[in-house]
Structure formats: structure tokens, C-alpha cells
């Protein structure tokens, strides 16, 4: 089942087409990485999903109900973590969660048990300070607890890690991975390593549309480059090897990079076998043999070019 689906959604600010015919679906139970550079329209898209901004055209459905601008009933399925969540600084975490719980219609018993459970999950149980004294990371963690309070079917996080230091980032990512057990996560970011760490599917937004969308493992294998990096002992004459290798029928090019050779082949599986045969036969002093793996970064750079 699709928890979220967008069809031909467009949004224009003045003469600028921020979102231009955007369509995608998010299946239940996955972590969807919504990637794009700053200003690509990630926040705009999320605000439209939440009914905080009106779309100019197209439809957004959450759990098969259409989102309306302004007050939208679909928000009862959604937990939202804004990029910089703002709280009432004069409250304590528990008071804030109680307020959220009462607004969202939980019973008092549910509020008590849910907030204890969630404060535990985000590592804020026992913190009795006012929220105004929290660090950014703590606010972000309280933001996740707040967003998960009503057991939403869809958790939307807008750049939850961008403003944090490496420790804070890592904490948020593990909390989000843990949240996957309870809910579907739509998670926007421009930090690609975060996506590689926790996402199942990824969509890359550029110029207002998704340039690439799919299963992260699929995308990687589809874009696997048929390259092998070879590193040799330092005394070895690389130019000689470069010449021999480039004459092989299955090799398309050989590049010399510092102390290593980057070998491009027409087919990886077969090529690997034959390359290894050659290496053993020639008894070359090999230090490292690495099959090229596409990074999301290189894919991203290629796509938004």
C-alpha cells in the first residue's frame, strides 16, 4: 500500500517553478530518502504534503485521502519534524508532549505511556530542564518524539541532521532507523551518507522533479561502473602495465592515477575473471584490488549536472 502518493504536483513562487510536475509514491514500511541540493524544493514539497502550502496543480494523497490546503484531516496520519523545530521554550519536554497528546486526541493514560516510551527512545527521559535550555540536538530529538506521539503512519522529517554535529547526527539517524519499526519515514536531506546509512528507497529532486527514484540497492547495481582499481608496490613501473592492459580485448581504457591504475571494462563479471588471470600469470606485485562501487554522491553529481 502507498502511504503517500504525489501526482503531477506543481508549485510556483512568482515566476519561479519550484516544483514542476512532481510524481512519486512512498510504500508502507520503508525509509524514503528525499534528496536534493539546498533550494531544490524539498521543504516546499513537504509543506504541501502537510497542507501548510497550497499546490498550484496536481494531487497529493496520504493513506488514500486527498490533502486539502489549510486544515487537512490527512494530518492525523502524519508526524512532522520541521528542519528547525520550534517549541514553547518555557515548557518541559513532558509538558510539551502532554499538550501535543491532548491536541491530537490521545487519552491521558496513552499520553503518559507514549511520552515515557518516546522520551526513552530519544534519550530525553529524566531531563527536567525547560526546553529553552536545550541544545539543537536535544530539540531535534524532542522533535522526533513529538512527531511520533500519535503513532503516525507517515513520519516526515525535513533535514533532521543538517544543523547538527557528527554525534548529534549519528544519534538522530539511529533513532530514525529505530522508528522504522513503527512507521514509514520520508526523510529529506542533502547529506548523501545519511541516505546511504538508513534509507531503503531514494528520490533525487532537481529542477522541481524527481530525476531518479528507486530502491537504493537497485540504483547502485544499475549504475555500477565496470571499473577496477589496482594498486601496486611503489617500485613497479606502472606505465608498462598500463600499456599491456590497454591492449587486452575486454578492457576499454586504463587510467594512471598516482600509484594506482583505474581499469574500465566492458563487462564486470567476465572481465574480473580474465583480469585476475592476467595478474596472476604476469606475477605482478599487487597490493590492492578493488571493484568500483558507485557512490550516491557520484550519481547525484551526474544527475544534477
Amino acid at each position: 500500500m502507498n502511504v503517500l502518493s504525489l501526482r503531477n504536483v506543481s508549485k510556483r513562487f512568482g515566476s519561479l517553478n519550484v516544483i514542476d510536475g512532481l510524481s512519486f509514491d512512498v510504500e508502507e514500511g520503508i525509509v524514503f530518502g528525499f534528496v536534493g541540493k539546498n533550494g531544490a524544493g524539498k521543504t516546499t514539497t513537504m509543506k504541501m504534503i502537510l497542507g501548510l502550502l497550497a499546490c498550484d496543480s496536481g494531487t497529493i494523497r496520504v493513506c488514500d485521502e486527498e490533502v486539502a490546503f489549510g486544515e487537512t484531516a490527512t494530518n492525523r496520519h502524519i508526524g512532522y519534524l520541521p528542519d528547525v523545530p520550534e517549541f514553547y521554550g518555557y515548557m518541559k519536554a513532558k509538558e510539551y508532549l502532554t499538550l501535543c497528546g491532548e491536541i491530537t486526541g490521545l487519552s491521558n493514560a496513552q499520553i503518559r505511556s507514549r511520552s515515557d516510551e518516546l522520551l526513552n527512545l530519544v534519550g530525553l527521559s529524566g531531563v527536567e530542564r525547560k526546553i529553552s535550555t536545550y541544545s539543537r540536538g536535544m530539540k531535534q530529538r524532542l522533535g522526533i518524539a513529538q512527531a511520533l506521539l500519535n503513532s503516525p503512519k507517515l513520519l516526515i522529517c525535513d533535514e533532521p541532521t543538517s544543523a547538527l554535529d557528527p554525534i548529534g547526527r549519528s544519534e538522530i539517524l539511529s533513532i530514525l532507523s529505530a522508528a522504522k519499526k513503527y512507521t514509514t519515514v520520508l526523510f529529506s536531506t542533502h547529506i548523501l551518507s545519511d541516505v546511504e546509512r538508513i534509507c531503503d528507497r531514494v528520490g533525487i529532486l532537481n529542477d522541481g522533479r524527481l530525476m531518479l527514484e528507486g530502491d537504493l540497492a537497485d540504483i547502485k547495481s544499475r549504475h555500477r561502473e565496470n571499473t577496477v582499481t589496482l594498486e601496486f608496490e611503489s617500485t613497479f613501473d606502472l606505465q608498462e602495465v598500463q600499456r599491456t592492459f590497454s591492449e587486452l580485448p575486454f578492457v576499454s581504457s586504463v587510467e594512471l592515477q598516482n600509484r594506482s591504475l583505474l581499469v574500465r571494462m566492458s563487462d564486470t563479471i567476465d572481465g574480473n575473471h580474465r583480469l585476475l588471470e592476467h595478474l596472476t600469470r604476469l606475477k605482478l606485485p599487487l597490493l590492492k584490488y578493488e571493484v568500483g562501487e558507485p557512490t550516491l554522491e557520484s550519481l547525484f553529481m551526474e544527475i544534477i549536472k
Partner: protein
């Protein structure tokens, strides 16, 4: 209903913890105490200011003078303090973005307006009552019996005018951005009402009468019947402003 009560509780907590209740209470208690005392000590103050040879004679102050001081203080400085204290109740939340979490949790936007109006009105009522009770006690002690004709009616008028200002604040904050735009537009509207009071034909309608004729009501210079139209107009405007701020706020981008 539950979210209305929850958000009202939040408003009360906010007003307590951000010192708003403290300010209102202290300022209005001060007015309550100072007004009769200033009236009582007025001859002394003039005497100490008097230069040699100039004799200023002012009549012995009465309870009416005490209430005149009270209404002057509360309708000017008092309402100004109310405006300052409640000026940012909606716009601060909009600029900071604190309402986003609430609205995405399913809090209806009209409820936001309604709870804010409820709590601000309750606080205004309580402070005005406390202030009035203090002045009443002090006046009775300093001037003998403090009973005046139309006293409660006069207080009611001022109270209603306060509610009207709160509705103005919410209305103007519901579509403007920035921390002070709502407050500034309310101040401008107040100024316009004051200017309109110059025209005799509008005089009989102007809500400003509720905050300017208070003493005249006590002295008999104005009758209760003079106020019936301004009361109707103010009541109507307050409801209209509240209703429209709910409508406008519903479609506002947060």
C-alpha cells in the same frame, strides 16, 4: 473541545511563565492603589509646588476625584500595558513557527484564535477586577463612602472596550507578518477612532466612548443611555473581528 481546553491551559501557562500575569497584576494593582491616593494628596502636591505669593486653591478632593484618577490611569496607561502584554500573543507564534507543530497535530486554527481570546479576556477581567476592588477599598477608606452612581456600569464599559482591543490585536495579527505589525495596526485603529471622535455626528457611535466617558458617567455629565449605541457597535465589531480573524487565519500560510 478537548484541544480548546488544552490550548487554553497552554496559554495560561505561557502567560504565567513569561511574566505577563505578573506585569498585568502589578501594574493594575498599582493603579488601584495610586489613583485614590493621588486624588487625596493633590492639594499637598500643589502646595509643595506653589511659589511664594501665588496661592493655588483647589477644592477639597472627593471620591469622584479618586475614580476620575482611576479611569484616567486604566483607560490610558492601563490599556497601553494590555496592548503591550498581549500584542505578540499571535504574531510571535507565527514568526517563531511554534504553531506548525500544533497545527500538524490536528489543532484547528479557529481554536487557536478562540483560546487566545478566551485566556487574554480572562486575564484582563481578573486584573481589572483586582484593580477596581483595590481602588474601591482605598476610596472608601480615604474618602468615606465610595459609592458612586453608575460605577459598575462605567467599569463594564471599560472592560468591554478592552475585549474589543484584544479582538483587534488577534484580527490584525491573523494576516500580517512580523512581531509588531498586529500591535501597530491596532494602535493605528485606536488613533483613527480618537480622530473620528472629533466629528459630532460619529460621536454617538464611536466605541471610544466606552473608554473616555467613564468619569462623565459618574459625575452625571453623561447618561447610561448615551452609551447604548457605542456598546452595541463595540459588541458587534468585537464579534465581527473575532469571526473574521478565524476565517482569515484558516487560510494563512504558516
Amino acid at each position: 473541545m478537548r484541544s480548546y481546553i488544552a490550548f487554553c491551559k497552554k496559554e495560561v501557562l505561557e502567560n504565567l511563565r513569561t511574566h505577563k500575569v505578573l506585569i498585568l497584576m502589578i501594574v493594575f494593582l498599582l493603579f488601584g492603589m495610586m489613583s485614590p491616593l493621588t486624588a487625596k494628596l493633590m492639594p499637598e502636591i500643589f502646595k509643595s509646588l506653589a511659589l511664594d505669593g501665588i496661592v493655588i486653591t483647589i477644592p477639597e478632593p472627593t471620591a469622584l476625584d479618586a475614580y476620575a484618577q482611576f479611569f484616567k490611569n486604566t483607560s490610558q496607561m492601563g490599556l497601553l500595558v494590555v496592548l503591550l502584554v498581549f500584542g505578540g500573543m499571535l504574531s510571535n507564534e507565527i514568526t517563531k513557527g511554534t504553531l506548525i507543530n500544533m497545527v500538524t497535530k490536528g489543532l484547528s486554527r479557529p481554536v487557536v484564535i478562540l483560546s487566545k481570546f478566551t485566556v487574554a479576556s480572562i486575564l484582563w477581567t481578573l486584573t481589572l477586577l483586582a484593580s477596581f476592588a483595590t481602588t474601591f477599598g482605598y476610596t472608601a477608606y480615604l474618602f468615606g463612602s465610595g459609592g458612586q452612581p453608575n460605577l459598575l456600569f462605567s467599569i463594564f464599559c471599560l472592560w468591554l472596550f478592552g475585549l474589543f482591543l484584544l479582538a483587534c490585536l488577534l484580527f490584525f495579527s491573523s494576516f500580517t507578518s512580523g512581531n509588531f505589525a498586529g500591535l501597530a495596526l491596532t494602535a493605528v485603529s485606536l488613533l483613527i477612532l480618537l480622530l473620528l471622535d472629533i466629528f459630532p455626528r460619529l460621536h454617538a457611535l464611536n466605541p471610544i466612548a466606552l473608554a473616555s466617558l467613564n468619569t462623565a458617567l459618574l459625575s452625571g455629565a453623561a447618561q447610561v443611555s448615551d452609551l447604548s449605541i457605542p456598546i452595541g457597535v463595540t459588541l458587534g465589531l468585537t464579534i465581527l473581528l473575532l469571526g473574521s480573524s478565524m476565517m482569515v487565519f484558516r487560510r494563512r500560510k504558516l
